[in-house]
Symmetry: C2
């Protein structure tokens, strides 16, 4: 096959050369994508759905063209739509959807000819823009032309995913095509073996300075020391997998995760999806034809099947067989000194359409001590996709990755025979639902469970996110961070000499606890709400916190905060977070030099119960710092438990009066009342702006 051009270096200082390269990259990609659809035998092949939960191929035919227009509208390179109707129907629906959304009745697909005519219009438009629009090198993330490369790389992704859909189509709808030549070599597979991988460091994440296009999830940084482990030399072949099938692997519940078994149960699968049992024995469905089973080619399965195989294999071998983590795959990649596709010649991997339009033998492409660390088929990892430290969404494509940060989309690595452009790079990070099929198989490893599994989650619980932003987020209206301000006041009042123990009652997401730990030797952060504490614990343990915030209507923005930039990394381990009830504190919570009760008392069911006992928790001379806007609400505190904010015997009783009534027996007021403001963000434009009254009380004696 003619070698498909590589994803360009976008920092070429020669703008004219860069423009020419992008123009060529665009047309080649657009051509190759259209050529894929030439394997379809008739127009009906475009409109009959290959699998129930995905759109028919006509959608994907139009979709990559529409994507260009939509993204270039955002960047301003395109000023108006070409075909508003097409650009609506071809805009979304790539992901698996519920039955309703894909009900055929809701779609009246245009004809193939109409879509081809539309594609031609888009091609002309892009051609003109790439030839004529002003271009200053380098093209980076903020550059308007980023959206042009985004569109091309997007089409290259769909080149692969559409090839999978075509492979899932009925045979009568497809035909072999000279532009898509399959590998004709196959035979029995050699025995696989585990090879020792020494301990070592691996570094993940793409720098913003990298000259080649990347998706949002690739950027950021991660370094990790890995213990030694053993990895299979080759990908698992059809032959190696057959043993599992013949051992009844698909009907034995215990090899499967719960989620995997649900999938197996639902589908009734008893062998890999592209395997076909025929009178002549096992055959394999390729993209456009069916062939006798090439036993030495990699088996193609989803993540559940791969994991079930590993559990079975572990019992067979007595080894800790499992899928590698993403980190472990990178360790293999680096050790094997895999070379990415470049312009010097065909790549040493079944990758980028340099060799075949199909898989090939698992021992054809050696890379170091291994085969197929990159190329042939994608390799499932056990790692759900997660954002690296420093992750940001791209403003023009903010839902490329974020919807997959849900612990349900696992990373696949290494690329397949049809992975081109960005997909073929070491830095590529794609993830799919674990039951999905791609041109994907797996390599197993033998190792203990990995020690460090990063969290994939953006906190989206509205209250928890609001508190996270309140504690760790941006300042608004010039109001200083509230928990930090209180912690500073507490430290000032405690005095330099004294360190000792502090209790942050009602710590919520924990900012004041972490701030107090700059000074105190030990800080206990206690809150009634586990879901709030969890964010503090996450920040403390993982060093960072991610959450979404409502911006406008249903639109959200993505936020990341980390301990280091807050200056809290060195002292965070002095904090213990725990769940507790301020009105009924565990006996162990005592002996404090400071108790901070910030925005707590007007949320307790019995503030008097708390305040009348709090002196027993303090060391002599210890401080009680209370901050509250005194927003008494019956939903939190029955009226008879309010400390103030009512009339008694005809006279106003303020909460400050009530505090004196309860506290004067054991405490003296040494500071305040003083108003300290705080701001809580509800949306991009709506905030709560409140004054908390701060009083500081010293325990007598």
């Amino acid at each position: 096959m003619e070698r498909l051009n590589r994803t360009p270096r976008l920092d070429n200082p020669d703008s004219d050369a860069l423009r020419r390269e992008i123009l060529d990259y665009f047309h080649t990609t657009f051509d190759r994508y259209e050529q894929l659809f030439e394997v379809l035998t008739c127009d009906e092949a475009f409109t009959v759905k290959p699998i129930a939960l995905r759109h028919p191929l006509i959608f994907y035919y139009g979709h990559t063209a529409t994507f260009f227009i939509n993204k270039l509208l955002l960047s301003g390179l395109v000023e108006q739509r070409i075909n508003p109707r097409f650009e609506s129907i071809f805009a979304i629906g790539v992901d698996e959807m519920s039955w309703d959304d894909l009900n055929d009745d809701h779609y009246n697909w245009p004809s193939v000819a109409e879509v081809k005519a539309y594609r031609d219009q888009v091609r002309q438009t892009l051609d003109r823009i790439i030839r004529e629009a002003p271009l200053s090198s380098p093209i980076n993330w903020e550059h308007p032309w980023w959206t042009i490369v985004m569109g091309i790389e997007h089409e290259r992704i769909h080149l692969e995913t559409s090839s999978v859909l075509i492979r899932q189509h009925e045979l009568r709808y497809v035909q072999p095509h000279p532009a898509w030549p399959v590998c004709r070599d196959s035979g029995p597979a050699p025995a696989n073996q585990l090879i020792e991988v020494p301990a070592g460091k691996t570094v993940l994440g793409k720098s913003r300075e990298n000259s080649r296009y990347g998706w949002d999830n690739e950027y950021g940084h991660r370094e990790i020391m890995l213990d030694s482990f053993k990895a299979a030399q080759m990908l698992t072949s059809n032959q190696e997998f057959l043993a599992f099938v013949e051992a009844g692997g698909y009907i034995e519940r215990r090899w499967w995760s719960e989620e995997g078994w649900n999938w197996r149960d639902f589908t009734g699968a008893v062998h890999p999806t592209f395997w076909v049992e025929s009178e002549d024995g096992w055959q394999l469905r390729l993209m456009c034809e069916q062939v006798y089973m090439p036993w030495d080619w990699p088996v193609e399965v989803n993540c559940h099947e791969a994991e079930a195989f590993c559990r079975w294999k572990a019992e067979q071998t007595g080894e800790l067989i499992r899928l590698p983590s993403e980190d472990e795959w990178y360790r293999l990649f680096d050790l094997a000194r895999v070379v990415e596709p470049d312009n010097t010649g065909p790549v040493n991997a079944n990758l980028h359409l340099d060799h075949f339009a199909s898989s090939c033998s698992v021992y054809r492409f050696a890379q170091g001590d291994f085969y197929d660390v990159s190329g042939n088929v994608w390799q499932w990892t056990q790692t759900p996709i997660y954002p690296f430290e420093g992750f940001e969404v791209h403003p023009y494509y903010d839902d490329f990755t974020t919807p997959t940060f849900d612990d349900r989309h696992n990373l696949i690595k290494g690329g397949s025979w049809i992975s081109c452009g960005n997909e073929s790079l070491r830095s590529a990070r794609y993830a799919f639902r674990r039951h999905f099929f791609q041109h994907a198989g797996f390599r197993y490893i033998a190792a203990d469970a990995p020690k460090d599994t990063p969290s994939s989650r953006y906190e989206s619980d509205a209250l928890a996110s609001q508190y996270a932003e309140f504690h760790y987020g941006d300042e608004h209206f010039g109001v200083a961070n509230f928990p930090r301000a209180l912690a500073c006041l507490a430290i000032e009042l405690t005095g330099e000499g004294r360190r000792g123990k502090a209790l942050d009652l009602g710590c919520a997401t924990g900012r004041a606890s972490l701030e107090l730990a700059r000074h105190f030797d030990q800080v206990d952060g206690v809150d009634f709400s586990a879901r709030l504490i969890n964010l503090g614990v996450q920040l403390q343990q993982q060093g960072r916190l991610r959450y979404t915030l409502p911006d406008e209507g249903e639109l959200v923005s993505y936020h990341e905060r980390d301990l280091a930039s807050l200056g809290l990394a060195d002292t965070a381990d002095r904090v213990s977070f725990m769940q507790g009830d301020a009105c009924n504190l565990k006996p162990i919570l005592s002996g404090y030099d400071l108790i901070l009760a910030a925005n707590l008392i007007d949320r307790l069911y019995s503030p008097r119960q708390f305040l009348s006992q709090v002196h027993t928790r303090l060391n002599p001379g210890g401080l009680l710092l209370i901050a509250s806007p005194y927003t008494w609400l019956e939903e939190h505190t029955p009226k008879e438990e309010w400390l103030g904010g009512f009339k008694r015997d005809g006279e106003n009783v303020t909460t400050l009066d009530g505090l004196h009534e309860v506290l004067d027996e054991h405490f003296e007021l040494i500071r305040g009342p003083k108003a300290v403001p705080f701001v809580i963000r509800e949306t991009r434009r709506k905030f709560q702006h409140t004054l908390s009254e701060v009083t500081c009380w010293r325990l007598r004696g």
Copy 2:
């Protein structure tokens, strides 16, 4: 009787003399009050309730003493309670209460001796304070000693109200007493007659510089021109009222207001409450005895009975007989040149206990052309008590008057034989529920309905008050008044030359409408909510607005705003407020040069419906100014009607995008988007702080 000393002038520059006068005023009042209870025959008379809905007399015996302690605690003159239990049980319950609150089971009254001992303690405390506490003259509203005079005047009020309760007690509980001598003169009443009162101005309200103590409701200012009217020369006598009774006045529904008839129906009254039908004919209950009916004494009735009499009398005479307004009573007072009690001798009125411990003949005390403009019995007016312009509550007694601003408490004027101190002054303003009995009767007048009836209401609807404060109240966090800022922007954009018509859609309480009227010849303020518009109308028509705001818990503060100090008095009449639906505007609302839609679009059920039609309401070149925080909520706007804040075809659609989609056909964006902040006060310490995005659109053509 010995003349009771008068309420002192508190600006006596001789502090020692002032101190002596107050000491004397205190002891005299405390003595006279205790002397009142000497008419009771036994301890049981203290604890049996004279009327069902009031506490027994033992409460009132203790209450006036407790009041001193409570108020002096607030001003700091007393540092600690004398008897916390007594000071709780004697603190509240003066007003009529529901049955539950006065259930005897809930009260365990102390003995009379215990209360007397407590009173002695309070007397000693007060004596010491008045002798020893630092005193700088003058004593004004802010002065700590104001609470001492407050306590004394408070006791003088209860001297009168307790005398009414004693009068309602069973005869066996009371006995005549030499300190309380009744008038023994009586006879047939002369015919009453209507006397012409010329038109003229009357001025109400006490100045802050006035040297004598006043309650909060007396301060402020009101001037009014009254048309001429006719007023009865004398109070209505028992004899004059008898005709109404004998005419079946109490059983004929048509003479009574609905509220009055409900009272009559509930009580079954067929004659005045102090009248007693005996075998010897009509008798009259006095405070401590029952006497043959003194026909020439004033009848004592409640407001409902007085009004029923007037309606009956009107039919009898063909004149427009009714109760006077408070204003009209002041006109009589000034014309009759009534002299207030002073230290030159007994006052020329049956007032201040200078003459009798009972009423006397309605033609005994002539004042100008009339009798008893002041004194004998209080006179009901048709005016529910309301605050004068400039009203403020006293911080140490914030519920003296405010609970009566409810249109259910009518003013009584002129004082009775037992009205002493502040009660005896022209400036006194007391009000009771219309069905209550005091030593009160009435003088009727003949006149058209008064033209100007001030509103007694403090708006306490939470949302309406919040908007009133948002539009007319204080600035917080340095954020400029929002509706004013928008109106200024609108005027700036309209340009100096153009005046014309403006529409303020979603005007709420109307500030922007009133601000726009500084510039535009005509402004229409339209809102969906009548309860919000009403406040704008009230401000426009009455020149002021009053509302309460939540401060802390159930505690509220009282606020008054007026057109003049907002600089809006001269142009307010250019505004027409009306109710309307922005999505379905009346055809007449068109031909505008400016339409302001402030914080409106995200509260409409169909903003698109409004925006797609709004161009038909504007003159060519007219401006549409939109301000909104784009806080889309399904409770206001179904999601399919949102203008933005969602994804469409995979891309973010902001509200600004949505505005362009709807408006670009007819408008061009000439200013913005620009964030303009606003602050809404929820409590004393809690605020909404929001950024509204402002865009200005000009109609093409």
